[in-house]
Amino acid sequence: MTRRALAPGTPRIAIAIVFGLLAVSPPFVSSFLQALLTQAVIYAILAMSLDVVLGYIGLASLGHAAYLGLGAYSVGILATRHGAGFWVTLTVGVLLATAVAAVFGLVALRATGVYFLMITLALGMVVWGLAHRWVSLTQGDNGISGVPRPDLGLPWSFAHAIPFYYLVFTAFLVAFGVLRGIVRSPFGATLVGIRESESRMRTLGYHVWLHKYIGFIIAGGVGGFAGVLWAYDNGFVSPADLELSTSVEILLMVALGGRGTLLGPALGAGLIVFLKNLVSVYTQRWLLILGAVYIGTIVYAPEGIVGALRQWTKGERAWAGR
Protein backbone atom coordinates (compact mmCIF):
# COMPACT_ATOMS: atom_id res chain seq x y z
CA MET A 1 0.00 0.00 0.00
CA THR A 2 1.44 3.34 -0.93
CA ARG A 3 0.84 6.32 1.26
CA ARG A 4 1.53 9.85 0.26
CA ALA A 5 2.52 12.64 2.57
CA LEU A 6 0.28 15.67 2.63
CA ALA A 7 1.74 18.46 0.54
CA PRO A 8 3.12 21.26 2.74
CA GLY A 9 0.49 23.70 1.46
CA THR A 10 -2.48 21.44 2.26
CA PRO A 11 -3.52 23.07 5.57
CA ARG A 12 -3.49 26.46 3.91
CA ILE A 13 -5.68 25.22 1.05
CA ALA A 14 -8.08 23.60 3.53
CA ILE A 15 -8.33 26.83 5.51
CA ALA A 16 -8.97 28.82 2.33
CA ILE A 17 -11.75 26.41 1.35
CA VAL A 18 -13.43 26.73 4.77
CA PHE A 19 -13.22 30.52 4.71
CA GLY A 20 -14.57 30.48 1.13
CA LEU A 21 -17.50 28.30 2.18
CA LEU A 22 -18.21 30.53 5.18
CA ALA A 23 -18.25 33.55 2.86
CA VAL A 24 -20.32 32.08 0.04
CA SER A 25 -22.60 29.32 1.33
CA PRO A 26 -25.01 31.02 3.79
CA PRO A 27 -27.54 32.30 1.23
CA PHE A 28 -27.88 28.76 -0.13
CA VAL A 29 -28.53 26.85 3.08
CA SER A 30 -31.61 26.48 5.29
CA SER A 31 -32.45 29.18 7.81
CA PHE A 32 -31.67 26.70 10.60
CA LEU A 33 -28.13 26.31 9.26
CA GLN A 34 -27.83 30.06 8.81
CA ALA A 35 -28.66 30.56 12.48
CA LEU A 36 -26.16 27.88 13.48
CA LEU A 37 -23.43 29.40 11.30
CA THR A 38 -24.01 32.83 12.83
CA GLN A 39 -23.79 31.40 16.32
CA ALA A 40 -20.72 29.34 15.44
CA VAL A 41 -18.89 32.37 14.08
CA ILE A 42 -19.66 34.42 17.22
CA TYR A 43 -18.43 31.63 19.47
CA ALA A 44 -15.36 31.33 17.25
CA ILE A 45 -14.47 34.92 18.16
CA LEU A 46 -14.97 34.11 21.83
CA ALA A 47 -12.85 30.95 21.65
CA MET A 48 -10.07 32.80 19.81
CA SER A 49 -10.04 35.44 22.53
CA LEU A 50 -9.66 32.81 25.25
CA ASP A 51 -6.91 31.20 23.19
CA VAL A 52 -4.72 34.26 23.80
CA VAL A 53 -4.79 33.42 27.52
CA LEU A 54 -4.86 29.63 27.35
CA GLY A 55 -2.83 28.97 24.23
CA TYR A 56 -0.32 31.80 24.21
CA ILE A 57 0.11 32.81 27.85
CA GLY A 58 -0.52 29.23 28.94
CA LEU A 59 -3.02 29.93 31.73
CA ALA A 60 -6.38 28.17 31.97
CA SER A 61 -9.13 30.65 32.90
CA LEU A 62 -12.40 29.47 34.41
CA GLY A 63 -14.05 32.87 34.16
CA HIS A 64 -14.04 33.83 30.50
CA ALA A 65 -17.83 33.79 30.26
CA ALA A 66 -17.73 37.01 32.34
CA TYR A 67 -16.53 38.99 29.31
CA LEU A 68 -19.15 37.44 27.06
CA GLY A 69 -21.70 38.49 29.68
CA LEU A 70 -20.35 42.03 30.05
CA GLY A 71 -20.58 42.61 26.30
CA ALA A 72 -24.00 41.00 26.11
CA TYR A 73 -25.47 42.90 29.07
CA SER A 74 -24.11 46.18 27.70
CA VAL A 75 -26.24 45.59 24.62
CA GLY A 76 -29.18 44.23 26.57
CA ILE A 77 -29.39 47.21 28.89
CA LEU A 78 -28.43 50.01 26.52
CA ALA A 79 -30.36 48.83 23.47
CA THR A 80 -33.64 47.96 25.18
CA ARG A 81 -33.79 50.70 27.79
CA HIS A 82 -31.96 53.59 26.19
CA GLY A 83 -32.43 52.81 22.53
CA ALA A 84 -28.69 52.92 21.98
CA GLY A 85 -27.41 52.10 18.51
CA PHE A 86 -24.88 49.51 17.40
CA TRP A 87 -21.76 51.66 17.60
CA VAL A 88 -22.60 52.89 21.10
CA THR A 89 -23.29 49.43 22.50
CA LEU A 90 -20.26 48.03 20.72
CA THR A 91 -17.98 50.70 22.19
CA VAL A 92 -19.44 50.39 25.68
CA GLY A 93 -19.44 46.59 25.59
CA VAL A 94 -15.83 46.29 24.47
CA LEU A 95 -14.59 49.05 26.78
CA LEU A 96 -16.44 47.63 29.76
CA ALA A 97 -15.07 44.13 29.16
CA THR A 98 -11.59 45.59 28.67
CA ALA A 99 -11.81 47.64 31.87
CA VAL A 100 -13.08 44.72 33.91
CA ALA A 101 -10.32 42.51 32.47
CA ALA A 102 -7.83 45.19 33.50
CA VAL A 103 -9.08 44.99 37.09
CA PHE A 104 -9.42 41.20 37.15
CA GLY A 105 -5.98 40.81 35.61
CA LEU A 106 -4.42 42.65 38.55
CA VAL A 107 -5.91 40.06 40.88
CA ALA A 108 -5.66 36.90 38.78
CA LEU A 109 -2.15 37.27 37.40
CA ARG A 110 -0.66 37.09 40.86
CA ALA A 111 -1.20 33.35 40.53
CA THR A 112 -0.44 30.59 38.05
CA GLY A 113 -1.68 27.09 37.35
CA VAL A 114 -4.43 25.78 39.53
CA TYR A 115 -4.57 28.98 41.59
CA PHE A 116 -5.13 31.08 38.46
CA LEU A 117 -7.93 28.70 37.55
CA MET A 118 -9.57 29.20 40.94
CA ILE A 119 -9.18 32.97 41.11
CA THR A 120 -10.66 33.42 37.64
CA LEU A 121 -13.52 31.18 38.75
CA ALA A 122 -14.22 33.42 41.75
CA LEU A 123 -13.99 36.56 39.59
CA GLY A 124 -16.31 35.06 37.01
CA MET A 125 -18.81 34.30 39.76
CA VAL A 126 -18.69 37.95 40.89
CA VAL A 127 -19.99 39.05 37.49
CA TRP A 128 -22.49 36.17 37.35
CA GLY A 129 -23.71 37.13 40.84
CA LEU A 130 -24.40 40.67 39.71
CA ALA A 131 -26.30 39.51 36.64
CA HIS A 132 -28.26 37.02 38.73
CA ARG A 133 -29.17 39.26 41.64
CA TRP A 134 -28.97 42.92 40.60
CA VAL A 135 -32.54 42.65 39.40
CA SER A 136 -33.21 46.37 38.97
CA LEU A 137 -30.39 46.57 36.44
CA THR A 138 -30.33 43.11 34.87
CA GLN A 139 -33.85 41.74 35.54
CA GLY A 140 -32.21 38.78 37.27
CA ASP A 141 -33.02 35.29 36.13
CA ASN A 142 -35.73 36.50 33.78
CA GLY A 143 -33.01 38.03 31.66
CA ILE A 144 -33.43 40.88 29.23
CA SER A 145 -35.47 39.98 26.19
CA GLY A 146 -36.41 41.86 23.07
CA VAL A 147 -32.95 43.03 22.05
CA PRO A 148 -33.50 44.34 18.52
CA ARG A 149 -31.13 43.54 15.67
CA PRO A 150 -28.71 46.42 15.09
CA ASP A 151 -29.32 49.22 12.63
CA LEU A 152 -26.12 50.57 11.12
CA GLY A 153 -27.80 53.10 8.89
CA LEU A 154 -26.98 50.93 5.89
CA PRO A 155 -29.43 50.29 3.04
CA TRP A 156 -30.04 46.69 4.09
CA SER A 157 -31.69 45.58 7.30
CA PHE A 158 -29.81 43.44 9.78
CA ALA A 159 -33.11 42.08 11.01
CA HIS A 160 -32.76 39.53 8.21
CA ALA A 161 -30.59 36.50 8.80
CA ILE A 162 -28.28 36.86 5.81
CA PRO A 163 -27.15 40.49 6.27
CA PHE A 164 -26.73 39.82 9.98
CA TYR A 165 -24.62 36.77 9.23
CA TYR A 166 -22.33 38.85 7.03
CA LEU A 167 -22.06 41.49 9.74
CA VAL A 168 -20.97 38.80 12.19
CA PHE A 169 -18.66 37.20 9.64
CA THR A 170 -17.00 40.57 9.00
CA ALA A 171 -16.58 41.00 12.74
CA PHE A 172 -14.99 37.55 12.84
CA LEU A 173 -12.54 38.47 10.09
CA VAL A 174 -11.64 41.68 11.92
CA ALA A 175 -11.16 39.86 15.23
CA PHE A 176 -9.14 37.12 13.54
CA GLY A 177 -6.96 39.67 11.72
CA VAL A 178 -6.31 41.65 14.89
CA LEU A 179 -5.59 38.60 17.04
CA ARG A 180 -3.39 37.01 14.35
CA GLY A 181 -1.47 40.25 14.07
CA ILE A 182 -1.00 40.27 17.83
CA VAL A 183 0.11 36.67 18.26
CA ARG A 184 2.50 36.88 15.30
CA SER A 185 4.03 40.12 16.49
CA PRO A 186 7.13 40.24 18.71
CA PHE A 187 4.64 40.72 21.56
CA GLY A 188 2.97 37.39 20.72
CA ALA A 189 6.34 35.67 20.44
CA THR A 190 7.18 36.98 23.91
CA LEU A 191 3.92 35.50 25.24
CA VAL A 192 4.87 32.10 23.84
CA GLY A 193 8.31 32.49 25.39
CA ILE A 194 6.67 33.18 28.75
CA ARG A 195 4.44 30.15 28.32
CA GLU A 196 7.45 27.94 27.66
CA SER A 197 9.68 29.36 30.37
CA GLU A 198 8.80 32.33 32.50
CA SER A 199 12.13 32.39 34.30
CA ARG A 200 14.12 32.38 31.05
CA MET A 201 12.16 35.33 29.69
CA ARG A 202 12.63 37.18 32.94
CA THR A 203 16.37 36.55 32.79
CA LEU A 204 16.40 37.86 29.24
CA GLY A 205 15.03 41.12 30.57
CA TYR A 206 11.39 40.92 29.50
CA HIS A 207 8.73 42.42 31.70
CA VAL A 208 6.88 39.14 32.11
CA TRP A 209 3.98 40.36 34.21
CA LEU A 210 3.20 43.29 31.90
CA HIS A 211 3.13 41.04 28.83
CA LYS A 212 0.75 38.62 30.53
CA TYR A 213 -1.38 41.51 31.77
CA ILE A 214 -1.74 43.05 28.32
CA GLY A 215 -2.54 39.66 26.81
CA PHE A 216 -5.18 39.07 29.49
CA ILE A 217 -6.80 42.45 28.80
CA ILE A 218 -6.86 41.88 25.04
CA ALA A 219 -8.59 38.54 25.60
CA GLY A 220 -11.20 40.23 27.80
CA GLY A 221 -11.87 43.00 25.29
CA VAL A 222 -12.31 40.61 22.37
CA GLY A 223 -14.49 38.41 24.60
CA GLY A 224 -16.70 41.47 25.19
CA PHE A 225 -16.82 42.03 21.44
CA ALA A 226 -18.17 38.50 20.98
CA GLY A 227 -20.68 39.19 23.78
CA VAL A 228 -22.05 42.25 21.96
CA LEU A 229 -22.64 40.20 18.81
CA TRP A 230 -24.13 37.34 20.84
CA ALA A 231 -26.73 39.63 22.44
CA TYR A 232 -27.80 40.96 19.03
CA ASP A 233 -27.93 37.46 17.59
CA ASN A 234 -29.80 35.83 20.43
CA GLY A 235 -32.08 38.80 21.16
CA PHE A 236 -31.97 37.75 24.78
CA VAL A 237 -29.44 38.04 27.59
CA SER A 238 -29.56 36.01 30.80
CA PRO A 239 -27.28 34.97 33.67
CA ALA A 240 -26.97 31.56 31.97
CA ASP A 241 -24.54 33.22 29.54
CA LEU A 242 -22.19 33.84 32.48
CA GLU A 243 -22.45 30.52 34.26
CA LEU A 244 -19.45 28.46 35.25
CA SER A 245 -20.50 25.83 32.71
CA THR A 246 -20.30 28.42 29.91
CA SER A 247 -16.73 29.24 30.94
CA VAL A 248 -15.84 25.56 30.90
CA GLU A 249 -17.49 25.17 27.52
CA ILE A 250 -15.28 27.91 26.05
CA LEU A 251 -12.27 26.08 27.47
CA LEU A 252 -13.49 22.93 25.75
CA MET A 253 -13.79 24.77 22.42
CA VAL A 254 -10.18 25.94 22.68
CA ALA A 255 -8.88 22.56 23.83
CA LEU A 256 -10.88 20.63 21.23
CA GLY A 257 -9.61 22.76 18.35
CA GLY A 258 -6.05 23.00 19.60
CA ARG A 259 -4.79 25.73 21.89
CA GLY A 260 -2.25 28.19 20.65
CA THR A 261 -3.46 28.06 17.05
CA LEU A 262 -6.31 30.66 16.91
CA LEU A 263 -8.05 28.91 14.03
CA GLY A 264 -8.11 25.64 15.96
CA PRO A 265 -10.24 27.15 18.75
CA ALA A 266 -12.45 28.77 16.08
CA LEU A 267 -12.97 25.33 14.56
CA GLY A 268 -13.59 23.87 18.03
CA ALA A 269 -16.24 26.52 18.68
CA GLY A 270 -17.96 25.74 15.41
CA LEU A 271 -17.97 22.01 16.11
CA ILE A 272 -19.40 22.42 19.61
CA VAL A 273 -22.13 24.81 18.47
CA PHE A 274 -23.16 22.43 15.69
CA LEU A 275 -22.91 19.38 17.91
CA LYS A 276 -25.04 20.89 20.67
CA ASN A 277 -27.76 22.06 18.29
CA LEU A 278 -27.83 19.14 15.89
CA VAL A 279 -27.66 16.42 18.53
CA SER A 280 -30.40 18.06 20.58
CA VAL A 281 -32.66 17.81 17.54
CA TYR A 282 -32.36 14.04 17.55
CA THR A 283 -32.13 13.16 21.22
CA GLN A 284 -32.89 14.60 24.63
CA ARG A 285 -29.79 12.92 25.94
CA TRP A 286 -27.41 15.38 24.31
CA LEU A 287 -25.72 16.23 27.63
CA LEU A 288 -24.49 12.64 27.74
CA ILE A 289 -22.93 13.12 24.32
CA LEU A 290 -21.46 16.50 25.22
CA GLY A 291 -19.98 14.97 28.37
CA ALA A 292 -18.44 12.21 26.29
CA VAL A 293 -16.94 14.85 23.97
CA TYR A 294 -15.29 16.54 26.96
CA ILE A 295 -13.72 13.28 28.10
CA GLY A 296 -12.92 12.09 24.57
CA THR A 297 -11.09 15.33 23.78
CA ILE A 298 -8.70 14.83 26.67
CA VAL A 299 -8.28 11.10 26.07
CA TYR A 300 -7.90 11.09 22.29
CA ALA A 301 -6.79 14.60 21.30
CA PRO A 302 -5.12 16.30 24.26
CA GLU A 303 -3.51 18.78 21.86
CA GLY A 304 -6.77 19.29 20.02
CA ILE A 305 -7.72 18.62 16.43
CA VAL A 306 -5.00 20.84 15.00
CA GLY A 307 -2.42 19.14 17.23
CA ALA A 308 -3.64 15.71 16.17
CA LEU A 309 -3.51 16.68 12.48
CA ARG A 310 0.02 18.01 12.90
CA GLN A 311 1.05 14.80 14.59
CA TRP A 312 -0.53 12.82 11.81
CA THR A 313 1.02 14.75 8.91
CA LYS A 314 4.38 14.60 10.66
CA GLY A 315 3.99 10.84 10.91
CA GLU A 316 3.02 10.64 7.26
CA ARG A 317 6.05 12.63 6.24
CA ALA A 318 8.33 10.55 8.38
CA TRP A 319 6.84 7.43 6.78
CA ALA A 320 7.20 8.80 3.26
CA GLY A 321 10.77 9.84 3.92
CA ARG A 322 11.94 6.30 4.71
Binding site: M118, A122, G129, L130, R133, V135, S136, E243, L287
Partner: protein
Amino acid sequence: MDFWISQLFNGVSYGALLFLLAGGLSLIFGMMRIVNMTHGSYYLLGGYVALTVIWRGGNFVLAVLLGALAIAAVGIGEWNAFLKRLSGQELGQVLTTMGFALIFQDLALLIWGGDPYTIPVPAVLSGAYTVGQLYFPVYRIFIVAVAALVAVVLWLVLERTRIGAMMRATVDDPEMARGVGINVYLISMAVFALGATLAALAGAVAGGFVGVYPGADFEILPYAFVVVIVGGMGSLKGALIGSLMVGLLDNFGKALFPELSYFTLFAPMAAILAVRPTGLFGRA
Protein backbone atom coordinates in the same frame (compact mmCIF):
# COMPACT_ATOMS: atom_id res chain seq x y z
CA MET B 1 -31.14 41.45 67.85
CA ASP B 2 -33.35 38.46 67.03
CA PHE B 3 -32.66 39.08 63.38
CA TRP B 4 -28.91 38.87 63.92
CA ILE B 5 -29.09 35.72 66.03
CA SER B 6 -31.32 33.85 63.63
CA GLN B 7 -29.26 34.92 60.62
CA LEU B 8 -26.11 33.91 62.46
CA PHE B 9 -27.65 30.52 63.17
CA ASN B 10 -28.73 30.09 59.56
CA GLY B 11 -25.30 31.14 58.33
CA VAL B 12 -23.52 28.72 60.61
CA SER B 13 -25.76 25.80 59.69
CA TYR B 14 -25.34 26.50 55.98
CA GLY B 15 -21.61 26.81 56.60
CA ALA B 16 -21.68 23.40 58.28
CA LEU B 17 -23.27 21.87 55.20
CA LEU B 18 -20.68 23.57 53.01
CA PHE B 19 -17.93 22.19 55.20
CA LEU B 20 -19.10 18.63 54.56
CA LEU B 21 -18.99 19.30 50.83
CA ALA B 22 -15.88 21.45 50.68
CA GLY B 23 -13.87 19.40 53.16
CA GLY B 24 -13.89 16.57 50.64
CA LEU B 25 -13.10 18.88 47.75
CA SER B 26 -10.24 20.39 49.71
CA LEU B 27 -8.77 16.92 50.35
CA ILE B 28 -8.93 16.02 46.68
CA PHE B 29 -7.65 19.42 45.67
CA GLY B 30 -4.91 19.91 48.18
CA MET B 31 -3.69 16.36 48.54
CA MET B 32 -4.01 15.21 44.97
CA ARG B 33 -3.95 18.50 43.05
CA ILE B 34 -7.02 17.43 41.11
CA VAL B 35 -9.49 20.10 40.05
CA ASN B 36 -12.69 18.16 40.43
CA MET B 37 -15.75 19.60 38.70
CA THR B 38 -17.60 16.34 39.44
CA HIS B 39 -17.73 17.17 43.13
CA GLY B 40 -21.14 18.82 42.80
CA SER B 41 -22.39 15.68 41.06
CA TYR B 42 -21.28 13.51 43.96
CA TYR B 43 -23.34 15.79 46.19
CA LEU B 44 -26.38 15.48 43.93
CA LEU B 45 -26.06 11.72 43.43
CA GLY B 46 -25.52 11.17 47.15
CA GLY B 47 -28.86 12.86 47.77
CA TYR B 48 -30.65 10.86 45.07
CA VAL B 49 -29.27 7.50 46.20
CA ALA B 50 -30.31 8.25 49.79
CA LEU B 51 -33.76 9.20 48.52
CA THR B 52 -34.08 5.91 46.65
CA VAL B 53 -33.06 3.93 49.72
CA ILE B 54 -35.81 5.64 51.70
CA TRP B 55 -38.35 5.02 48.96
CA ARG B 56 -37.42 1.34 49.12
CA GLY B 57 -38.18 1.30 52.82
CA GLY B 58 -34.74 1.97 54.29
CA ASN B 59 -34.35 4.23 57.28
CA PHE B 60 -32.63 7.62 57.32
CA VAL B 61 -29.26 6.50 58.67
CA LEU B 62 -29.03 3.60 56.24
CA ALA B 63 -29.98 5.93 53.39
CA VAL B 64 -27.27 8.45 54.22
CA LEU B 65 -24.63 5.74 54.62
CA LEU B 66 -25.56 3.87 51.44
CA GLY B 67 -25.59 7.14 49.49
CA ALA B 68 -22.10 7.95 50.72
CA LEU B 69 -20.77 4.45 49.98
CA ALA B 70 -22.29 4.24 46.51
CA ILE B 71 -20.72 7.55 45.51
CA ALA B 72 -17.36 6.49 46.93
CA ALA B 73 -17.50 3.63 44.43
CA VAL B 74 -18.38 6.05 41.62
CA GLY B 75 -15.46 8.28 42.61
CA ILE B 76 -13.01 5.39 42.73
CA GLY B 77 -14.09 4.31 39.26
CA GLU B 78 -13.70 7.79 37.81
CA TRP B 79 -10.31 8.31 39.41
CA ASN B 80 -9.00 4.92 38.39
CA ALA B 81 -10.15 5.09 34.80
CA PHE B 82 -9.20 8.70 34.04
CA LEU B 83 -8.01 11.11 36.67
CA LYS B 84 -4.92 9.31 37.93
CA ARG B 85 -3.35 9.74 34.48
CA LEU B 86 -3.91 13.49 34.46
CA SER B 87 -1.76 14.65 37.34
CA GLY B 88 -0.42 18.13 36.81
CA GLN B 89 -2.69 18.80 33.81
CA GLU B 90 -5.22 21.28 35.11
CA LEU B 91 -6.98 21.78 31.79
CA GLY B 92 -7.29 18.04 31.24
CA GLN B 93 -8.70 17.61 34.74
CA VAL B 94 -11.21 20.43 34.38
CA LEU B 95 -12.51 19.14 31.05
CA THR B 96 -12.59 15.45 32.01
CA THR B 97 -14.35 16.06 35.32
CA MET B 98 -16.73 18.50 33.62
CA GLY B 99 -17.55 15.76 31.12
CA PHE B 100 -18.41 13.43 33.98
CA ALA B 101 -20.45 16.16 35.66
CA LEU B 102 -22.57 16.57 32.52
CA ILE B 103 -22.99 12.81 32.13
CA PHE B 104 -24.02 12.40 35.77
CA GLN B 105 -26.40 15.36 35.49
CA ASP B 106 -28.11 13.75 32.53
CA LEU B 107 -28.19 10.27 34.07
CA ALA B 108 -29.72 11.71 37.24
CA LEU B 109 -32.39 13.41 35.13
CA LEU B 110 -33.02 10.16 33.28
CA ILE B 111 -33.30 8.07 36.46
CA TRP B 112 -34.96 10.43 38.95
CA GLY B 113 -36.73 12.86 36.62
CA GLY B 114 -36.99 16.61 36.89
CA ASP B 115 -39.08 17.00 40.04
CA PRO B 116 -37.59 18.31 43.26
CA TYR B 117 -37.76 16.01 46.28
CA THR B 118 -37.16 16.37 49.99
CA ILE B 119 -35.68 13.48 51.92
CA PRO B 120 -38.05 12.72 54.80
CA VAL B 121 -36.19 13.10 58.09
CA PRO B 122 -36.87 10.98 61.19
CA ALA B 123 -39.22 12.45 63.79
CA VAL B 124 -36.34 12.99 66.22
CA LEU B 125 -34.75 15.44 63.83
CA SER B 126 -37.86 17.35 62.79
CA GLY B 127 -39.45 20.19 64.66
CA ALA B 128 -37.70 23.10 66.27
CA TYR B 129 -36.63 24.59 69.56
CA THR B 130 -38.09 27.97 70.27
CA VAL B 131 -36.38 30.44 72.55
CA GLY B 132 -38.52 33.55 72.99
CA GLN B 133 -39.17 34.78 69.46
CA LEU B 134 -36.37 32.68 68.04
CA TYR B 135 -36.85 29.48 66.15
CA PHE B 136 -34.09 26.85 65.80
CA PRO B 137 -34.97 23.86 63.58
CA VAL B 138 -33.58 20.64 65.03
CA TYR B 139 -32.41 19.47 61.63
CA ARG B 140 -30.11 22.46 61.24
CA ILE B 141 -28.61 21.75 64.65
CA PHE B 142 -28.15 18.15 63.51
CA ILE B 143 -26.22 19.34 60.43
CA VAL B 144 -23.91 21.43 62.60
CA ALA B 145 -23.35 18.40 64.83
CA VAL B 146 -22.59 16.12 61.87
CA ALA B 147 -20.12 18.66 60.45
CA ALA B 148 -18.41 19.05 63.83
CA LEU B 149 -18.15 15.28 64.17
CA VAL B 150 -16.71 14.90 60.67
CA ALA B 151 -14.22 17.70 61.33
CA VAL B 152 -12.99 16.08 64.54
CA VAL B 153 -12.75 12.59 63.01
CA LEU B 154 -10.94 13.91 59.93
CA TRP B 155 -8.50 15.84 62.06
CA LEU B 156 -7.83 12.81 64.28
CA VAL B 157 -7.34 10.52 61.30
CA LEU B 158 -5.05 12.90 59.42
CA GLU B 159 -2.96 14.04 62.36
CA ARG B 160 -3.02 11.17 64.82
CA THR B 161 -3.07 7.88 62.92
CA ARG B 162 -0.56 5.96 60.89
CA ILE B 163 -2.72 6.09 57.77
CA GLY B 164 -3.08 9.84 58.19
CA ALA B 165 0.69 10.17 58.36
CA MET B 166 0.94 8.10 55.16
CA MET B 167 -1.57 10.40 53.50
CA ARG B 168 0.36 13.51 54.48
CA ALA B 169 3.60 11.93 53.33
CA THR B 170 2.03 11.08 49.97
CA VAL B 171 1.00 14.71 49.56
CA ASP B 172 4.29 16.24 50.57
CA ASP B 173 6.53 14.03 48.46
CA PRO B 174 4.97 11.15 46.51
CA GLU B 175 8.32 9.83 45.28
CA MET B 176 9.85 9.69 48.70
CA ALA B 177 6.66 8.19 50.10
CA ARG B 178 6.89 5.45 47.50
CA GLY B 179 10.53 5.03 48.39
CA VAL B 180 9.80 4.30 52.04
CA GLY B 181 7.26 1.68 51.09
CA ILE B 182 3.97 3.57 51.16
CA ASN B 183 1.48 2.34 48.59
CA VAL B 184 0.90 5.72 46.98
CA TYR B 185 -1.63 4.29 44.57
CA LEU B 186 -3.87 2.92 47.31
CA ILE B 187 -3.49 6.01 49.48
CA SER B 188 -4.40 8.33 46.59
CA MET B 189 -7.42 6.24 45.75
CA ALA B 190 -8.48 6.26 49.39
CA VAL B 191 -8.19 10.07 49.57
CA PHE B 192 -10.26 10.49 46.43
CA ALA B 193 -12.88 8.04 47.71
CA LEU B 194 -13.01 9.85 51.05
CA GLY B 195 -13.55 13.18 49.28
CA ALA B 196 -16.37 11.74 47.18
CA THR B 197 -17.92 10.13 50.27
CA LEU B 198 -18.01 13.43 52.12
CA ALA B 199 -19.66 15.15 49.15
CA ALA B 200 -22.30 12.43 48.98
CA LEU B 201 -22.83 12.66 52.72
CA ALA B 202 -23.37 16.39 52.33
CA GLY B 203 -25.86 15.76 49.53
CA ALA B 204 -27.80 13.19 51.52
CA VAL B 205 -27.93 15.42 54.61
CA ALA B 206 -28.85 18.44 52.49
CA GLY B 207 -31.71 16.39 51.03
CA GLY B 208 -33.63 16.88 54.27
CA PHE B 209 -32.80 20.57 54.36
CA VAL B 210 -32.74 22.20 50.91
CA GLY B 211 -33.97 19.11 49.03
CA VAL B 212 -32.67 17.16 46.03
CA TYR B 213 -33.35 18.61 42.60
CA PRO B 214 -31.83 18.84 39.12
CA GLY B 215 -29.26 21.62 38.96
CA ALA B 216 -28.28 21.37 42.63
CA ASP B 217 -24.89 20.06 41.47
CA PHE B 218 -23.84 23.16 39.55
CA GLU B 219 -25.57 25.45 42.01
CA ILE B 220 -23.43 24.36 44.93
CA LEU B 221 -20.18 23.67 43.08
CA PRO B 222 -18.97 27.31 42.95
CA TYR B 223 -19.60 27.63 46.71
CA ALA B 224 -17.48 24.58 47.39
CA PHE B 225 -14.70 25.94 45.19
CA VAL B 226 -14.80 29.32 46.85
CA VAL B 227 -14.57 27.74 50.30
CA VAL B 228 -11.58 25.69 49.26
CA ILE B 229 -9.68 28.48 47.54
CA VAL B 230 -10.29 30.96 50.33
CA GLY B 231 -9.41 28.50 53.08
CA GLY B 232 -6.43 27.15 51.20
CA MET B 233 -6.32 23.86 49.35
CA GLY B 234 -5.74 20.79 51.48
CA SER B 235 -6.13 22.63 54.75
CA LEU B 236 -8.81 21.22 57.02
CA LYS B 237 -8.71 24.33 59.19
CA GLY B 238 -9.01 26.45 56.06
CA ALA B 239 -12.03 24.48 54.85
CA LEU B 240 -13.69 24.90 58.25
CA ILE B 241 -13.11 28.65 58.48
CA GLY B 242 -13.82 29.16 54.79
CA SER B 243 -17.16 27.32 55.10
CA LEU B 244 -18.24 29.45 58.04
CA MET B 245 -17.21 32.64 56.24
CA VAL B 246 -19.05 31.69 53.06
CA GLY B 247 -22.11 30.50 54.98
CA LEU B 248 -22.29 33.73 56.98
CA LEU B 249 -21.50 36.06 54.07
CA ASP B 250 -24.08 34.31 51.93
CA ASN B 251 -26.78 34.57 54.59
CA PHE B 252 -26.13 38.13 55.67
CA GLY B 253 -25.57 39.21 52.06
CA LYS B 254 -28.94 37.80 51.01
CA ALA B 255 -30.69 39.29 54.04
CA LEU B 256 -29.10 42.74 54.00
CA PHE B 257 -28.26 43.44 50.34
CA PRO B 258 -30.50 41.18 48.27
CA GLU B 259 -29.52 42.85 44.99
CA LEU B 260 -25.80 42.51 45.61
CA SER B 261 -25.85 39.27 47.58
CA TYR B 262 -23.57 37.20 45.36
CA PHE B 263 -21.32 40.18 44.91
CA THR B 264 -20.95 40.47 48.69
CA LEU B 265 -20.04 36.77 48.72
CA PHE B 266 -17.62 36.47 45.82
CA ALA B 267 -15.99 39.90 45.85
CA PRO B 268 -14.48 39.55 49.35
CA MET B 269 -13.31 36.10 48.31
CA ALA B 270 -11.56 37.52 45.27
CA ALA B 271 -10.08 40.26 47.45
CA ILE B 272 -8.65 37.71 49.88
CA LEU B 273 -7.15 35.85 46.96
CA ALA B 274 -5.64 39.05 45.63
CA VAL B 275 -3.72 39.39 48.87
CA ARG B 276 -3.08 35.71 49.47
CA PRO B 277 -3.28 33.72 46.21
CA THR B 278 -2.84 30.43 48.08
CA GLY B 279 -5.77 31.11 50.41
CA LEU B 280 -5.81 31.86 54.09
CA PHE B 281 -4.21 28.61 55.28
CA GLY B 282 -2.79 27.22 52.06
CA ARG B 283 0.80 26.42 51.34
CA ALA B 284 2.21 27.34 47.93
